[in-house]
């Protein structure tokens, strides 16, 4: 009933094409997260769904209706703007209650809902302030409040937690998850925070330069990125990527050699490769462990000790940089030579076009 269907959606600003044909279907009640690098078109896509940006090409359906030409107010949506867009002349209370007022909700109901939202957002003491008297994070919470007091079929959130501190982010994340559960509304959420994406999403959409790179559940994206871009983008710190070439193909296994490694045997879609192909090997920093013997040897460049884990930046023989995230606190000195090992099933092999080739199940 309030699922969404995006068909070859396009958007250009003059000659600049920003959204280049996005196909996507979102089910009713699904929690979808858009991620992608800065400027890839997340906000634009959200604004197109909201009806704030004219659609240059393609078709957008909400429920079973084509809404390309439908006014935002008739689309049954609420939205948190990346730039907040709070009404400067209204108090926080009025900002939050504005949508309800327009919908002619009874005064008591409105009041109750506003106060509920304020409690959830921990800003009950701010209700009488004007936006100009708020801190950045407080403004952002007002923007969230404005969306959540209403009960639309679709929620659109554009980086709603970016200016909140960690504790509040966690709280808010939980509240949004709860809201999603309680209302069963469809939610589309833009974030650049991987944890948010991973924990909230039923489905993550990875965008790059206006093109969808991969759509899937969080764990799918983390474990089986479709291509180099997704591999590099999902997971923080980034997946390490090493180039090499295929030296042997054998059943489900491919053997790869390169400047930084010798004859590493990995499981992959053997049919996609032949000996001599240039490939890229991907391995997540968290999947590496220090070991006496291993495939990768390098010199420590930088050590970041975070308490519960240690980030080690290593320079490989080819000069490439390599990052390992080790559990616990390790004392390592720059300049020290270290050896890392990993499980062959933890590595991903990308072909020359950057497409991941997993072993056939």
């Amino acid at each position: 009933m309030a699922g969404l269907e995006l068909n070859r959606l396009r958007k250009s600003y003059g000659a600049v094409e920003v959204i280049k044909g996005v196909d996507l279907s979102i089910m009713d009640g699904e929690f979808v997260v858009f991620v992608g690098p800065s400027g890839c078109g997340k906000s634009t896509l959200l604004r197109m769904i909201a009806g704030l940006e004219e659609i240059t090409g393609g078709e957008l359906k909400i429920g079973s209706l084509v809404v390309n030409e439908v006014e935002p107010r008739d689309r049954g949506i609420a939205m948190v703007f990346q730039s907040y867009a709070l009404y400067p002349h209204m108090t926080v209370y009025d900002n939050v209650g504005f949508g309800l007022k327009l919908a002619r909700a009874p005064k008591e109901e409105r009041d109750r809902k506003i106060r509920d939202a304020a409690r959830i957002l921990q800003m009950e003491h701010l209700l009488d302030r004007k936006p100009s008297q708020l801190s950045g994070g407080q403004r952002q919470r007002v923007a969230i409040g404005r969306a959540i007091v209403r009960q639309p079929e679709v929620f659109l959130f554009d980086e709603p937690l970016s200016n909140l501190d960690a504790a509040l982010r966690v709280d808010m994340r939980m509240e949004l998850a709860k809201l999603h559960q309680d209302l069963g509304a469809t939610m589309i959420y833009v974030t650049h925070d991987q944890v948010e994406a991973m924990t909230l999403a039923d489905k993550i959409v990875v965008l790059n330069a206006g093109i969808v790179q991969q759509v899937g559940s969080p764990i799918e994206l983390y474990q089986r990125p479709a291509n180099l871009f997704v591999a590099g983008f999902i997971g923080s710190p980034k997946m390490n990527l090493l180039s090499g070439s295929v030296t042997a193909v054998d059943g489900d296994a491919v053997t790869i050699s390169g400047k930084d490694m010798a004859n590493v045997q990995l499981s992959a879609d053997a049919e996609a490769f032949k000996v001599g192909d240039m490939v890229t090997l991907g391995i997540r920093p968290q999947r590496l462990h220090l070991s006496g013997s291993g495939a990768l040897v390098g010199q420590v460049v930088l050590v970041e000790r975070l308490g519960n884990e240690t980030n080690v930046s290593v320079s490989l023989p080819s000069g490439a940089n390599f990052l390992a995230v080790l559990d616990g606190d390790h004392v390592l000195q720059p300049g020290q030579v270290v050896t890392f090992d990993f499980a062959t099933s933890d590595a991903v092999v990308f072909d020359v076009d950057g497409i991941a080739r997993y072993a056939q199940a």
Partner: protein, 304 residues
């Protein structure tokens, strides 16, 4: 880096005294304007106040105390003039505010022929008062005027717009609106384009209909423009006489006289001291009406 330090240290010495926030908006910005304004406007105007206490022929003046004021208040049509003045000011400024806003909203939307419409609305502002006066005395002619001829097509006998004593003032006020609404409109347009689009977007998402959009977003956020238009057109309405002069000379008889036109008549008659006294009275009247108005309008200021 040592160079910069020496620099900033030097600067530190000189600026230590000033309050930073004030120094950002230095008072001398006002100075050039203040000098020109005080020397060429305030000083002569204030000095002319003395003449309100004299019988003044321009060639010589005789001090007569408050006799001019007494005389002014004895003007036979002063009370009616006062009432007319307020009616005229309220009608013209009210209509300019409302119609100007409506035009501005229309002319900032993506309506077709926007450039044409903007020009057409502004055009009357450009035409000299004399021309407007003549044009409308012709159009409002009771028998051959275009307006009444058009009404006659519908079987309505149009009134004597300018010759009927109870109508003349309103007719002139309408023409004043016709002539001045373009000005209000451009001020509003400047106000409307200054409103960030974000707020409209937020309101559209919040479910605002175009009317609610206007009422809850446009109107409050164009407050600077509204305040300006109200103040300027209200003061203008209280003070103008040129159009009244061009169209009815305050007539028929004294029916469309306002305080300003009474004063103007005195001035034209060479009663310079008396008209100066009249101006003082009018000034007080305007101030009494306008100062509280500005205070209300500026109470909550801008987007802050």
């Amino acid at each position: 880096m040592s160079v910069t330090t020496a620099d900033s240290a030097g600067a530190l010495q000189t600026t230590v005294r000033k309050k930073p926030i004030q120094a950002r908006y230095p008072g001398w910005f006002i100075l050039p304007a203040a000098v020109i304004y005080s020397v060429l406007f305030l000083a002569p105007t204030v000095s002319s106040l003395y003449f309100s206490l004299t019988r003044w022929t321009l060639f010589d003046s005789v001090f007569i105390g408050f006799e001019n004021f007494a005389q002014f208040f004895r003007e036979p049509f002063l009370v009616q003039g006062l009432i007319n003045t307020v009616i005229y000011a309220v009608v013209t400024s009210g209509m300019k505010v409302v119609i100007g806003m409506a035009f501005a909203v229309l002319l900032t939307s993506n309506i077709v022929a926007r450039g044409y419409l903007r020009s057409v609305v502004f055009f009357p502002v450009l035409v000299s008062t004399v021309g407007v006066g003549i044009t409308f005395t012709v159009l409002m002619h009771p028998t051959q005027g275009m307006i009444n001829e058009t009404l006659a097509l519908f079987g309505i006998k149009g009134p004597g717009w300018l010759t009927n004593p109870s109508l003349a003032l309103y007719s002139v006020a309408l023409v004043d609106v016709w002539k001045g609404v373009g000005l209000a409109t451009v001020i509003y347009i400047a106000g409307l384009v200054a409103i960030p689009r974000d707020y409209y977007e937020a309101a559209r998402i919040d479910g605002a209909t175009p009317w609610q959009n206007f009422w809850y977003v446009t109107l409050p956020l164009s407050r600077p423009a509204t305040a300006t238009v109200i103040i300027l057109s209200f003061i203008g309405g209280l003070r103008t006489f040129d159009l009244i002069w061009a169209m009815t000379k305050g007539g028929p008889g004294f029916a469309s006289d306002t305080v300003a036109s009474v004063i103007y008549k005195q001035y034209q008659a060479g009663f310079y001291g008396l008209s100066t006294a009249g101006n003082v009275v009018l000034f007080v009247l305007i101030a009494v009406l306008v100062i509280p108005l500005t205070m209300i309008l500026n109470r909550r200021r801008g987007h802050e």
